[in-house]
Amino acid sequence: MRINGTEHERAPRPGQCLRTYLREEGCFGVKKGCDTGDCGACTVHVDGVPVHSCVYPAFRAAGRSVTTVEGLDHPVQRAFVDAQGFQCGFCTAGFLMTAAALTDDQRTDLPRAFKGNLCRCTGYRAIADAMDGVVHVSEPAEGKAVGSGLGAPAGPDVVTGRARYTFDLDVPGLLHLKVLRSPHAHARVVAIRTEAALAVPGVELVLTHADDPGRLFSTAQHENVTEDPADTRVLDDVVRFAGQRVAAVVATSEAAAEQGCRALAVDYEVLPHVLTAREAMAADAPRVHPGGNVVGELHATLGDVDAGFAEADEVYEGTFRTPRVQHASLETHGAVGWLDGDGRLVIRSSTQTPFLTRRALASLFGLPHERVRVIAGRVGGGFGGKQEMLAEDLVALAVLRSGRPVKHEFTRAEQFTSATTRHPFEVTVRAGARSDGTLTALRLEVVSDTGAYGNHGPAVMYHSCHESIAVYRCANMRTDAWSVYTNTVPAGAFRGYGLGQVSFAVESAIDELARRLGIDPVEMRLLNVVGPGDDLTAPGDHAGDLTIASYGLDQCLAHMRKASAEPDEVPQGWLAGEGMAIAMIAAGPPGGHHADATVTRLGDGRFEVAVGTAEFGNGSSTVHCQIAADALGVTPDRIVLRQSDTDAVRHDTGAFASTGVVVAGKAVLHAARALRAQIDAGSEVTSAEGHWGGSPRSVAFNAQWFRVAVDPATGELRILRSVHSADAGTVMNPVQLRGQIEGGVAQALGATLAEHVDLDGEGRVTTTGFRQYHLPTYADVPRTEVLFADTDDAIGPLGAKSMSESPFNPVAPALANALRDATGVRLTELPFTRDRIWSALREAAD
């Protein structure tokens, strides 16, 4: 086989697909997104013909000429850099290889041409611009980096296949780990017979609950360990969801590890299970954990809610439901581990939290922190899913037991059955207002299903009930909320961290009140939202360090009003309507979020900036370069980043809770300014450090507006126009910020219009691939006009606020409100697929 012009003699294995063969031959630019032919990340050319190499029999490529992204030399690569047509970049090689093979005819119909290429980050607008040759990036002058459209530093590596993600390295002597997973939603593992597995040639080690290190922990990662219940073991003798680890087989090949798993004989004592949160709350429900099924609850009041409702002229009450949603980052979870020359445990992981993972591993295995190193390469998407330790513990155990390098890479199916999901919520909201629109009372009843483990469960529940209602000035509020265990795949952190689910209910209710009172929905918000200087209050004990350090919600609302004033053409016979919703989010989590940065003079005019933060398409690295360049008075090409390595700096809580700019960026600013001050003072000092502790915190605002048309005959919904306004404080990089917002809106449109992880009656996930679980494609995502409020934050670095999670949150209610406006029907359960819209219209008509 000729690969990128070079002959490769080694014959592939009989059942091998071309993707793995090419990677074994060193072409790491060929990515695994799904391994089922659906995402296109593995696209290569065979004799000039584009194919998905994951479903292409490798033997068939013998004697042919294969081109991968490493061998591509095409103008579209430059175009993807110029338009920043990528974020994490994991799907990019597939897009490039596809784009390079398109005929002129196909280029005129990109929604069709790209139906086999999935991007989870960008929302496709930037890809469309790349295809159109639009140039967005700019090369800023000295001192002008902040505010410029500087391209991501990794861009050239991403478009040539040189960027190194988690598994893109060759480790000699690597062993492969495969997991046997529970078929039962709840069972005791009575016995595991391992003899046959150990007899499989190539199997080196079998790990069962007998090998568990004996410490309870949480897979969730937060600065404060006690935030998440310690209820999980590396390998447990009780399995609490179908898909949970039962045993692991470590072998010299994936084939042997898989065969070893099949050879394990397990006796289960099946236990009674409970699959829904409501059922789990019943007194006689099966217990998922010994302490009971409610893992966190909040019951609190502000003011007098009964008096508030008595005062109301109009009261609305409704119950809203959101399903499980998968993060679907194109790079799956997984880790590679080994012992370094010094015998130190090294874990290279697809993680948003290298430092917290190091801490968790050290504590789990009783090792001093300095005996564990965690690094992340470029991470192929996170969205909260990688604020979780789902592979590293098992890899560490296997490395420590075998003394050999070990890799554990999730399959796409395992992502669905055995990683985490967005928390499914049921929210009952009751809202009252006077005829002049003033909110008099707001009551929330929130049931959040955390699944079999409590990772992020209580924290998501608390957060969900804060900014979603604290954005409103309402004297009387009552919240009752529960985070509940069930025997289902665990939920975890997901972009928005609970706010989106509760905002779906609250923003729908505010819309309904406005409608009933005959008040314009924008006016309704203006009447009731918090203003500059207001306290941010919600029932319950919430951290007191959150303030409005800049205020742009009024500008966001003005953008919504302006959008509404402009008409759109509606297809004949279709119902049209418009709707909007708002969101507020804290710039960073409560309870401290720390980042250290070190800036070092390299002596050749360049500076090294060391940060702990991982880069997974969030764009923090670009902003860190911009901040450092301006503070040091150089152009950004003089900045060299060293990142996401526990050896790089002292500590970094991690890239989650929208902290990449406001916390890590502030640490970089402090370090760079400190070094600049030394240089200006003529000091010979070569490096300086910076730190930020993540408190006090400001808030960011978002508003989303849609005009939609609905075909009542089929349930088809078309978005005629989408406008998003964001108050992110100082815009550090308008190209990236726009991309983050578009990506958030697109991902939220997936959750609003398409996505749901389904379980069967036994609790097993049935949507285990991208054919059953529909991610937004190029054809699905409309352009969103992105507008920025003009504000300057008093807390964030150079006036910036966070903006990676919050664009997600107003999308579902804005769309629900537009649908209500168009059809007269209030939809209360996500997602709004065509069949469900049609059913709802039909029910309403009956």
Partner: protein, 260 residues
């Protein structure tokens, strides 16, 4: 994905070689897209050298190993539309085969829709010899066919009369360019009759034949009588009630189009 239990590939393979643990291999896009731990050998048909498309006086013979890309370029408008009904990318078309789509027997399989709507016939070969089966009867349910162990699908024959007939096509999905939740094709014959083929919405193809062009009521009664409610697919690609509704809606649109 890697099929790690496969220890041998027979290429080219032929009828008679099949034994338990074997799978006939077309393009591989379906076979390699799921774990298949029961497989030990692949019997490669694509190396057999069957001509992809053969124009014969009474129609078109499509080899099972004809790729979707080859078929889409064959110059038949309805055939090309059916190719576009694939959820899969044009890159998959370069590899996936007509036979593979038929043998996968998924409700949304557009080659099943095409073959049934154009009155196609499958040529099946096995150790005991050859037999022919109408395409509409080849698929018996979700993922099941009439193929017996050791049998393979050799080709599909489409009659010339069908290929030149006036047809009408409707495809519905939950998403733009998405997987078919409903796929209907109507065909008018020379004698003034109409044939309506319902796929994707149903677990197997339903072909309704009318000797004339029915009125709306007769068409709807026929749909209700011939397709039982439990024949509509219940999965993530559409609620059964919506699929039934869309079937009836599209059937009427097709009736009007063919009547005019």
């Amino acid at each position: 994905m890697d099929l790690n239990t496969v220890a041998e590939v027979i290429s080219p393979a032929e009828v008679g070689q099949w034994r338990p643990g074997d799978a006939w291999l077309g393009g591989g896009t379906a076979l390699f897209a799921e774990p298949r731990p029961h497989l030990t050998r692949l019997l490669d048909l694509t190396a057999a050298g069957w001509p992809a498309l053969t124009e014969i006086p009474d129609g078109l013979e499509i080899a099972a190993t004809c790729t979707i890309a080859e078929l889409a370029a064959s110059g038949h408008a309805l055939v090309e539309k059916c190719c576009h009904a694939f959820l899969a990318s044009f890159k998959i078309w370069n590899v996936a085969t007509v036979g593979g789509n038929l043998c996968a027997a998924l409700p949304a399989g557009p080659m099943i829709a095409m073959g049934a709507a154009l009155d196609g016939t499958c040529l099946v070969q096995g150790p005991e010899g050859e037999r022919t089966v109408p395409v509409k009867d080849f698929v018996t349910g979700e993922g099941t066919t009439v193929l017996r162990d050791g049998e393979l699908l050799r080709s599909v024959w489409l009659p010339a009369a069908s290929l030149t007939a006036v047809t009408s096509y409707r495809q519905g999905s939950l998403h733009a360019h998405g997987r078919s939740g409903v796929l209907l094709i109507g065909r008018r014959d020379d004698e003034g009759g109409m044939t309506l083929t319902v796929t994707a919405a149903t677990r197997r193809p339903f072909v309704l034949t009318f000797t004339d062009c029915p009125d709306e009521e007769r068409l709807q009664v026929a749909l209700a009588e011939r397709i039982p409610d439990d024949a509509y697919v219940d999965d993530v690609h559409g609620l059964p009630a919506w699929r039934r509704h869309m079937t009836r809606l599209y059937a009427e649109q097709i009736r009007r189009e063919l009547a005019s």
